[in-house]
Each structure stands twice: as structure tokens, then as C-alpha cells.
Amino acid sequence: MATTVNIKLSRSNRIYRSSEPVEGKIVIKSPSSISHQGIRLSVNGSVNLQVRGGSAGVIESFYGVIKPITIVKKTIEVTSSGKFASGTTEIPFSVNLKEPGESIVEKFYETFHGTNINIQYLLTADITRGYLYKPLSATVEFIIESGRVDLPERPIPPELVIFYITQDTQRHPLLPEIKTGGFRVTGKIATQCSLQDPLSGELTVEASSVPITSIDIHLIRVESIIVGERIVTETSLIQSTQIADGDVCRNMTLPIYVLLPRLLMCPSVFAGPFSVEFKVCIAISFKSKLAKAQPKSDPTAPRLWWRDYHWNLSGRSEISSAANEQANISGETCFFVCVVHITKKFDLELELYAYKLALTS
């Protein structure tokens, strides 16, 4: 049996605040006693930006990886040189992410794994054992969630938006029968939402001459990176949620209720070189006689339209391939898009719980 090294964190969910020390123990299992020249523990937090495929141009993809932004990088020595007895040895440790007096270059962004942006915190233990032996090492990822202290300071958009969707609010060509027949869908949706809470709102179909086949809520993530003098944006569909199947009754309030997928989301971030934000798109698909002749567009795979649709409401400059627009956006679907600001949840109870946990472990 070979000698193994593991890092066991004090919390099973591996979530820590930036203000808290990361604690745990290094577990070494060895069949024989070994001597070493010290154990070092390093914390490495960085934002990795990458531009690939998609909307990026040829030149950008040529660049490949953009230089990562370091959030934190420090190394401490847990023990000086010594010897482990055979069997299992556990060495406890505790690392402060930021010292009280320390000035850090970057904020402690929350851990996030996106398409183009990766914010990751790693803890690595290294055991050096002289020249003749291979050094032992183990790495573990821990997750940073921002506490109260790290509130975003950007102006918060209004909490609720009241929307109405008619044939006239649409910027893309519609099928003539929808255009002439007309429809009206109204509702409201929260534009500020904490990560733990569902995105909620209401929607009412007031009128529609053409039968509706489906109403979907699409959750869209927009990652932007400044590359040189340009901004590269990657939009990806995170989750689609159908709220109406078929030609629903008119003037009946339907709830909008979307639980946010935690692994794919983080609080909205607006840092200097990059940003992550989220949008909600309400898509209404109509059943049209004409559309039957065309190959049916499948609402479960809206891959084709969301990238090319010109996001007017976002207020940011976009890279859109306008050439594809007409071909890919179906004339039988209507949209409403708005930005949703994702925040941390201030759950006092949870906060206290985490605090208690930190004290005990």
C-alpha cells in the first residue's frame, strides 16, 4: 500500500465565507513510518477567463486562455520537518483567507463555474521528503460564498417589472396570422432574486386569436469578458421551464415559479475585466397552420434562437450575427426578455447556523 495524503475539510459542504478561516485536517495514511521536511499548505483563488468558439471571432479563439486574475495566493507551513509514525496521522490546520491588515488585490468572488468564466478556490497540501523521494501532495476545492459583507455595491434594478407582450412589441418578423390576429399577454416578474429563492411572477393570457402551444420561461446566463478592446459575451441557456402547455384559458393567472439551479448560477458579478449576469426570457409559441408545413421547431432546444436574438433590453453592446437572425428565429414565437439581478439570500437563521458551525469546528 502506497502512502496517501488527503485533505479533509471541517465542513462537509466545503462552503466558507471569505472572512472565515478554512479549517480541516491533513490525513496521511502510510504503511511505514516516513520522515519529511515539512508540510506546506497553499491557498489559490483565481478567475480563469477563456474565450472559445461561439460568438467569439477567429482572432479571439486564437488567443485561447486569457491571463487568469488572481484573487488570493498564499502558502503557510503547517509543520516543520519531522517524522510520521506508520498508520494514520491527522494534522489539523487553519488558514485565514485574508488577514485583518492585509490589502487584497481582488474581491473574493463567489465560486462559479461557467462556460467562459471559472472562479475557483483550491487548497493544496505539499509534503517534501528530501531528494530521493517523490513529494506527496493533495488538492481540494473549497467553495466561497459571500457573506453579508460582500454585498454588491452596484445600483440595484427595480424589484419588479410589469410587462405586456403583444404582436407590436416584437422586433422580429412574425407570421402574418399572428400579426393580424393579435394577442396580449401581461404579467409581472421579479427582477431581483436571491440565489436561494425561486424566481417568481405571474402571467396572464388576456387574448390570443391563434392558439398557444406553449409558454416557457428561459433562464439565460450572460458572461462577458474584456479581451483587448472588445467585450466577448457568451450567453448560455441554463434552464427552460414550461408554465403553460397548450392553449390555456384566457384571463387566468398562471404563476411563474422557477427554482434556480445552484450549480449553474452565482450572484450577478460586475468586476472590472469580467461580468456574469442573468436574464429571463418569456417565450410564447403559437400554433399556426403555416408552421406545419415547415419543419417543426422544438421548444426544448431553443439553441438556435437565443444566441442570435438581439437583446435590446440589456443595454449592452452585443455581438450578434444579424445575418442568421431571420433564418433562426421562428416566426411563431414571441419574446419578452429582462435582466434579473441575482443576490445572496440574507437568511438570518442560516447565517447564525454557519456562525455556530464555525465556532464549534
Binding site: 392553449d247 398562471l254 419543419p295
Partner: protein, 898 residues
């Protein structure tokens, strides 16, 4: 051999053997009230604490009890409804069986096919191929129902095994796949079946998730119990990790794109919200609203059904949600009932749709009213559903299928108090989801259950009659009014009843009634009949006879049976018109039944009824007419054997009655006897014939008509002889035959001997008939011979024990007083019989029987004859035989010896 008969003094014997009589203090049948009362009291008090689920809920009971009821019934209601759910599931599976081959739309095809293929990828694959094929609909594959079910079960097993293998993601994925089956409503009839299978699976999944999270909350990482959860735990009791896991489940379920499976899956893990929030009820608000997003009426309704099931299973039930459900259902149904232009029409598809929806609506209504009752808020529920809002301009038209099931479940007190309101609602709701006629009918039936005041009933029924007469067909009219007949009768609303009967006659004028109409009419008439005590009250009703004439076939028969039954229920039938009517009725019944060829219970009942009717007829003083009537009956109901007996009895009774009235009727008595005599031979069984002959002979004897009685007795003996000839092989009821012969013997005591033909003429012929008969076994022979010996002994007395009631008839004792040749003949006869008797005993094969017979015979002999040498020799011989057969220890033997 010399014999001498023992002397008897019957008078003294009678005196000495009379039982001493004394008065009793108590009548044995009079109830002892004092002792029973406390018992009743204890029953009453124990009754209070006992909740009978079958009693349902009487809203009428006192408030106290009501409170008690609710405190118990939360559990009881839930339990009840769980049972309901089970039966509903069974019913859904059975009621909508599916033709063997079903075509499936591409959606379920993909689900069925793809065990490994991702749904989305196969969809995109279909998209590609879709352009090549002309239309996707045509690709629908044909699949066997069994195959389909097997496939679903396979998937379900996959879910459990994946769960057991700790692979919960896979089992969730499979669950989603199975739930998606419910999105396919292309084959309507199959939907309930799929629903049942899928919801079973979902219930199972829900339980598994609940258990897992509960375990997480109770155990720590190493599986040691930290704390066991109470039944009413709070979300704050749950440790963070369990809550994380729980929330994770909701997230996973929430990430399903399609609304329908998402709702179903959330409903499956609905109770888990308790781990997360203090008010899990709030979730329901949203879920109820979410279901609105399902536009397909059938899918929506069944989704509501599952929601209600899950709600009540976990005690989340609340009339508020249920009312919302029902309102939403109404909205969903609205477009089905009327298309865009407000034009409503019915198609076969829609009919099928509604029939599929019915059980679901029924169940939801049941839940609603039970919950309402448990909350003591049924009235509030009704208000919410639009009761009492009639006056306002709000035009609430109710979907009739919903209304129907509401009405079905309403407590009967409320039905009576809100009857007018309900009637108006029924009037307004005339759509094709449910027949308005049946709704009217249901209202009537429900009203009958409760007690209602006549005050509004009269106007209510007026309106109903109006509404019913708008249906121009008799069938619809009858179907509606059938339900109200009871009400009219109970509340003695004669005018309405008359109006109803008038209407029936007008509507049925000159028409041939179909089978259904017959059945409804039958039901109405039967209600009428069962209401009135006496036929006399029914007949004067307007057009009653006319309506009777409308009927035909089996329903006519049934009505006739009831009429007859009713007519014969209350003693004699004196009224001649009634007799006439019943006679016609009987004749119709007789004509409708084949008495000759078919013998079953129905026929027997009819025969019995007719006989009873004949028996009950009483013309009073017009006896001639009565006899005529009997003759008529004999002609009319020739095929009923049972009746013949009745006829003979009736005519005998008639004769006796005439005799009592005095001598002047002697000719009438003769004609009665003649009638009887003529009728008896057509009675089927010889025993009955024999008995009837004897009976008639008695009557003749009573009337002093010796020649008649002689003739009748001779006929009886002939009949006895004939038994041997005709029924030699058939098993005759020999025992009763023998006892009839004994009876004949005792009758002969009174009958004076005929000197011309020989005194012993009759006796001898009985004797010879017995000897020669093939039916008489030795045992019976012994019995009969003993009877003859006793008779002979009796006849030899100077004073007979009894005489005929008619003083004109002189007994043998006076007739042959002191006549030595008479006595000689008696002795001769005895010798003859004794010989045969001994022979008969020897013939018996069974030892024990032979012994007993020997003893019996020796007893008889010793009591009849004086013990001289001959006799005691014979007796001791018989006793020897008995000893040989029975053994010396037999107690009968011992007592006989003395």
C-alpha cells in the same frame, strides 16, 4: 281363533286423562317493560362515544355531537378517502378497458423506446427524419396494451432497483420519463389506466424520498440516531444537511422543463416541503395555480385529481384549495362545451371525454364536501361555489357534470333547504357534459332522502313538472318524474299526482311504449302501489287503469304481480270491481307465463299469487256467484295445479258456509260438492287427492249427504288403489300416504256402514289395496294394519267415541246395536288383518325396525283385544321376535312386556 274386543268407556277415560287447568298470572308474551328499560339506557349511553363511519354525518344532530364528530373525523375522513382512492383506482382500471391494440403518438413512443437514448437527442433525431417522412402522426406505432403495461412496470422496477443501488439520479430520471407518459392524451380511453400506473409509481417515489430525508434528519453520517422526529415536527428541527438534500430534490424536480411532469413530481414529494418551511400549505396555492397551465382538459382534470389525492393523503386538504380546483375545472371545461362562436355540439369524442372525466370529478367533489363537513363549513363552501348569488347580476352557469356530482355529495339536509336554488341551477346548466334530465332526477332522489317541508315542495314540483313537460318525449318525462313520485306521495300532493298521471296519458297517447319507457313507467306505478295500503285507494286515481293498459311485456307482468300481491295482502276481497280487475290481471299474468313447460321460482310465485287471490275472494252472501267464479277460475287457470287444491278448498268452505246458514241451501251444498268432486281428479299428486277426498267427504257427512260421502270415500279408496297402478315406480310420499290412510280409518268411525253393500266393504277394499300395493313397505303396512285393528276394535264398542256433527247421521253403534253378525264380521276381519300383520313383520329386513314393529303390533293387539290364550300366544310370539331382533335390554321391549 277366537277374539274378543276390549270394552271401552271413552267418556270416563277422557275425564280421567284431562289435564288439570289453572290460571296463570302472566301472559307469556306480554313484555316485561321494567326489566328492559335500563338495558336500553345503557345502549343509549354507549352509543354516544361510538363513531360509526357508516352513519355518515348527520348535520341534523345537535351541535355538541357535531363538535365531537369533527374532532374524530380528521383521521376518519382521511382514512375514508384513502379507501375511496383505492376503489377509484380499481374502477378506473376496470371501467375503461382498452382495445388490444393502441396507437401511440411519437412522444410516448420515444419514452417507451429510449432506455438509454436521451430524450432530447432522439427528438432531434426525429426532427431530421421528420422531413423525410410525410407526417409525424403517421409514424405512430401500433403497440399491444400488455406490452405497454409491461414496459411501464419494467421502468418502475428500474426505479426501485436504481434507488436501492443508491443511484437516485437514475431513478429520478426514470421517474420523469414515466411521468411524461401522462402528457400523451391521444388515446383517450387509455389515459385512466396510465394515470393509475403512473401515480402508483409516483406515490412510491414520494414515500422513498420522504423516508430518505427523514433518515438524514434523524441519523448522522455514521447511521447513528441523533434524534427521532416527532409527528408534528417543525422545519427548524431539521438539520441543515437534510434540508439541503430536500431542497436539492425540489431543484431537480424543478429543472424538468415540461409543466405536467414537473407538477406531478412535485406533488409526489409534496410532503417533503415540511422539512423546509413552516407553512407547506403556501406551496399548494402555487401548485393549484400551476395546474392552470395545462390546457388539455383531460390531463388537467386528472392532474387536479392527483393533487387532491396528495393533499388529502397528507392532511393538507382545505376547502379553499378544493374550491379553487373546482372553479379551475369549470374554466377548463368551458371551451370544451362551447366552441369559439358559442355554439355547442356534442360528438362521440366529447362524450367519451366526459365519461372519462366523471370519476375524477366525483372524487374531487367527495373530498370537497367531506373536508367542508369536517371544517363545519359546508354552507360556506356552497357560497363559494356560487350558491346564493342568483339575485346578483353575476351569471353563474354551472357545468352540469360538476353540478351533478356536487348534488350527489351534498348532505341531504342541505339539499332540502337549498332545493329551489339547486333547481334553478339545474335549469341554467343545460350543456352536454351531463344530461339535465338525470340532474333533475338526482335532485328528486336526494330530496326523498331527507325530510323536507311541504311548503316549498309544492312550488318546486310545479316547476319540475313544467320543466319536464318541455321534454316532448315520454321517456325523458318519466325519467324525471319518477324521482318525484315518492315526494308527492309522502307529502300527499294529490293535485300534482293527478297532473302527473294526466301528463303521462297525454304523452303516451296512441304510442307504443319502448322498453325503457316501460321500465320507467313500471317504476312509477310500483312506487304508487307500495305507497298505498290498499288497492281501493289506488284504483280511483286518475287514469290508473288507462296507464296500466299502456304497459306490456315483462314490466306489465311485474306490475301485475305487485297488484295481485297488494290485493291479497289485506284479507278478503269483497269488492266486485276489484275482483274483476284482479281476475283480469291474473289472467294476463297467466297468459304471459308458460306454466306447463317451465317450472321455476318465478312461475311458482305467480301461481302462488293467483291461488292466494282466489282464496281471498269473498262474495259474501252471493254464494252462487262465488261458485261461478270458482268455476271460471278453473277454466281460466287450467295449468296451475296448485290452484286446483285451492278451488276445492274454497268450494268446501263455501259448502260449509251454506250449511251453517241453514237447510235451504242443501242444493247449493250439493253443487259445491259436485264441483269439488269433479275438480279433485285433476289434482296432480295422489296424496293431495286423497286428502281432498277425505275433506270433501267430511263436508258431505256434515251436510248429512251419506251417499255423497260414501261415494267420496270410495273414490278415495280407488285413488289409493290407483296409486299402486300409476305411480308404481315414482317415489310417492309414502309416509303422508300412510297417514292419510290412517285418517281415512278414523273418518270411517263416523261413517255408517252400508248394509246393502256389506258393512265392511270400505274397510276390506282399503285392506286389499294395502296388501296388494307395491308402494307400501312393511313398516307402513304394519302402521296401516294397526290402524285397521284399532278401527275394528272401536267399531265393536257399544258407544262410539265420536259422532258426526250432523244429528241426522246415525253411527254404526246405533245402526248395528246388538247385531251379532256385525260383530262376527268384525272379528273375522280382524283375524284376516292379524295374519297379514304378522306376515308383514316377517318381511321387514332391518332387524331393529322389525323388532320395533313387532312391539308396536303387540301393543296395538293387546290394547284392542282381550287377552285370551290365542292373543297372548300371538303377543308372546311377537315379543320373542322383538327380543331376537333388539336384544333383551331394549327399554321399549321392557315397557311393552308389562
Amino acid at each position: 281363533m277366537e277374539f274378543e274386543f276390549r270394552r271401552r268407556d271413552y267418556g270416563a277415560k277422557h275425564e280421567s286423562q284431562l289435564l288439570h287447568r289453572s290460571r296463570t298470572h302472566k301472559h307469556p308474551l306480554s313484555s316485561t317493560l321494567d326489566s328492559r328499560q335500563p338495558q336500553a339506557k345503557t345502549v343509549g349511553s354507549s352509543d354516544l362515544g361510538f363513531f360509526d363511519p357508516l352513519r355518515g354525518v348527520d348535520v341534523d344532530v345537535s351541535v355538541e355531537e357535531k363538535v365531537e364528530d369533527t374532532s374524530i373525523s380528521l383521521e376518519a375522513v382521511t382514512q375514508d378517502l384513502m379507501k375511496e382512492w383505492k376503489s377509484l383506482k380499481r374502477m378506473l382500471m376496470q371501467r375503461f378497458p382498452v382495445s388490444k391494440v393502441i396507437s401511440f403518438s411519437p412522444i410516448s413512443n420515444i419514452i417507451m423506446k429510449g432506455s438509454k437514448v436521451e430524450t432530447s437527442s432522439s427528438l432531434s433525431h426525429l426532427e431530421k427524419t421528420g422531413s423525410e417522412q410525410t407526417s409525424l402522426e403517421e409514424t405512430a406505432r401500433m403497440i399491444n396494451q400488455q406490452e405497454y403495461l409491461a414496459k411501464v412496470h419494467e421502468l418502475r422496477d428500474g426505479i426501485t432497483s436504481a434507488w436501492q443501488a443508491e443511484d437516485r439520479v437514475t431513478s429520478l430520471k426514470l421517474s420523469i420519463k414515466v411521468t411524461k407518459l401522462l402528457m400523451d392524451t391521444t388515446v383517450l380511453q387509455f389515459y385512466p389506466t396510465v394515470f393509475v400506473i403512473v401515480t402508483d409509481m409516483l406515490d412510491m417515489l414520494g414515500d422513498m424520498v420522504w423516508e430518505r430525508i427523514k433518515q438524514k434528519a434523524e441519523l448522522d453520517v455514521d447511521g447513528i440516531v441523533i434524534s427521532s422526529l416527532l409527528n408534528d415536527f417543525q422545519a427548524s428541527d431539521i438539520c441543515l444537511e437534510a434540508r439541503e438534500t430536500c431542497y436539492n430534490w425540489f431543484c431537480k424536480v424543478g429543472s424538468v422543463r415540461e409543466i405536467l411532469p414537473r407538477i406531478y413530481l412535485e406533488l409526489a414529494i409534496l410532503p417533503c416541503w415540511r422539512f423546509l418551511t413552516h407553512q407547506p400549505m403556501e406551496v399548494l396555492d402555487r401548485l393549484v395555480m400551476m395546474v392552470r397551465g395545462i390546457a388539455d382538459p383531460l390531463a388537467s382534470l386528472y392532474c387536479h385529481l392527483y393533487m387532491v389525492h396528495r393533499m388529502q393523503k397528507f392532511g393538507f386538504c382545505n376547502s379553499g384549495y378544493l374550491i379553487k380546483c373546482i372553479k379551475d375545472i369549470k374554466d377548463v371545461l368551458a371551451p370544451v362545451l362551447k366552441d369559439k362562436d358559442g355554439y355547442s355540439y356534442i360528438t362521440d369524442d366529447k362524450k367519451l371525454l366526459f365519461s372519462l372525466m366523471e370519476p375524477a370529478i366525483d372524487y374531487i367533489m367527495k373530498c370537497l364536501l367531506r373536508t367542508g363537513r369536517q371544517e363545519n363549513n359546508v354552507l360556506g363552501v356552497l357560497e363559494e361555489l356560487g350558491f346564493g348569488s342568483n339575485q346578483s347580476s353575476y351569471n353563474s352557469s354551472h357545468v352540469s357534470i360538476v353540478l351533478h356530482h356536487l348534488l350527489k355529495e351534498l348532505p341531504s339536509e342541505l339539499v332540502s333547504s337549498q332545493a329551489m336554488e339547486i333547481l334553478h341551477m339545474i335549469k341554467c346548466s343545460n350543456d352536454y357534459s351531463f344530461s339535465q334530465i338525470l340532474n333533475y332526477r338526482l335532485l328528486g332522489n336526494r330530496l326523498c332522502e331527507g325530510t323536507s317541508q311541504a311548503s316549498f315542495l309544492s312550488s318546486l314540483i310545479n316547476e319540475v313538472i313544467q320543466a319536464a313537460s318541455q321534454y316532448q318525449t315520454l321517456y325523458d318525462y318519466l325519467r324525471i318524474m319518477d324521482a318525484y313520485v315518492d315526494l308527492m306521495l309522502q307529502n300527499e300532493m294529490k293535485n300534482h299526482l293527478d297532473a302527473l298521471l294526466d301528463d303521462i296519458v297525454t304523452l303516451a297517447h296512441d304510442k307504443f311504449l319502448s322498453e325503457e319507457e316501460q321500465a320507467s313507467l313500471q317504476s312509477i306505478i310500483l312506487k304508487l302501489l307500495s305507497h298505498f295500503e290498499d288497492l281501493q285507494e289506488v284504483l280511483p286515481l286518475n287514469h290508473f287503469i288507462e296507464i296500466l293498459d299502456l304497459m306490456s311485456g315483462t314490466s306489465k307482468t311485474s306490475v301485475n304481480m305487485h297488484l295481485l300481491n297488494m290485493g291479497t295482502r289485506n284479507g278478503c276481497i269483497c269488492d266486485s270491481t276489484t275482483v274483476q280487475l284482479l281476475f283480469e290481471v291474473s289472467q294476463a299474468l297467466y297468459d304471459a307465463t308458460d306454466f306447463v313447460n317451465i317450472k321455476d321460482d318465478d312461475n311458482r310465485q305467480t301461481a302462488h299469487l293467483i291461488s292466494r287471490f282466489v282464496e281471498m275472494v269473498d262474495y259474501g252472501a252471493e254464494m252462487e256467484r262465488h261458485l261461478m267464479f270458482l268455476a271460471e277460475c278453473r277454466e281460466a287457470f287450467n295449468g296451475i295445479h296448485e290452484l286446483k287444491e285451492t278451488l276445492v278448498r274454497s268450494s268446501n268452505t263455501l259448502a260449509v258456509k251454506a250449511l251453517k246458514e241453514g237447510k235451504k241451501h242443501i242444493n247449493f251444498v250439493k253443487s259445491c260438492l259436485a264441483f269439488s268432486e269433479v275438480t279433485i281428479p285433476s289434482v296432480s299428486t295422489p296424496t293431495k287427492q286423497l286428502n281432498l277426498y277425505l275433506e270433501t267427504a267430511e263436508v258431505a257427512l256434515l251436510g248429512g249427504l251419506i251417499s255423497h260421502s260414501d261415494g267420496l270415500v270410495m273414490s278415495a279408496v280407488e285413488c289409493l288403489e290407483n296409486v299402486a297402478l300409476t305411480n308404481g315406480l315414482k317415489s310417492v310420499d309414502v309416509d303422508s300416504m300412510a297417514s292419510a290412510v290412517c285418517k281415512l280409518c278414523s273418518l270411517l268411525v263416523m261413517v255408517p256402514g252400508n248394509p246393502e253393500k256389506g258393512v265392511m266393504e270400505i274397510l276390506k277394499s282399503i285392506f286389499s289395496a294395502t296388501c296388494s300395493s307395491s308402494w307400501a313397505m312393511p313398516r307402513l303396512k304394519v302402521k296401516i294394519f294397526c290402524a285397521i285393528i284399532s278401527l275394528l276394535s272401536t267399531l265393536s264398542q257399544d258407544n262410539l267415541p265420536y259422532h258426526s256433527a250432523n244429528p241426522e247421521i246415525i253411527g254404526n253403534d246405533l245402526l248395528f246395536f246388538g247385531d251379532s253378525s256385525y260383530k262376527k264380521e268384525l272379528v273375522l276381519c280382524t283375524q284376516l288383518v292379524l295374519r297379514e300383520l304378522v306376515d308383514a313383520i316377517e318381511q321387514e329386513s332391518s332387524q331393529i325396525a322389525r323388532g320395533n314393529m313387532a312391539l308396536e303390533a303387540s301393543n296395538c293387539i293387546s290394547s284392542a283385544l282381550v287377552m285370551n290364550e290365542n292373543v297372548s300366544q300371538l303377543c308372546s310370539k311377537l315379543l320373542e321376535t322383538a327380543k331376537g331382533c333388539l336384544g333383551a335390554k331394549d327399554s321399549y321391549l321392557k315397557s311393552t312386556k308389562k
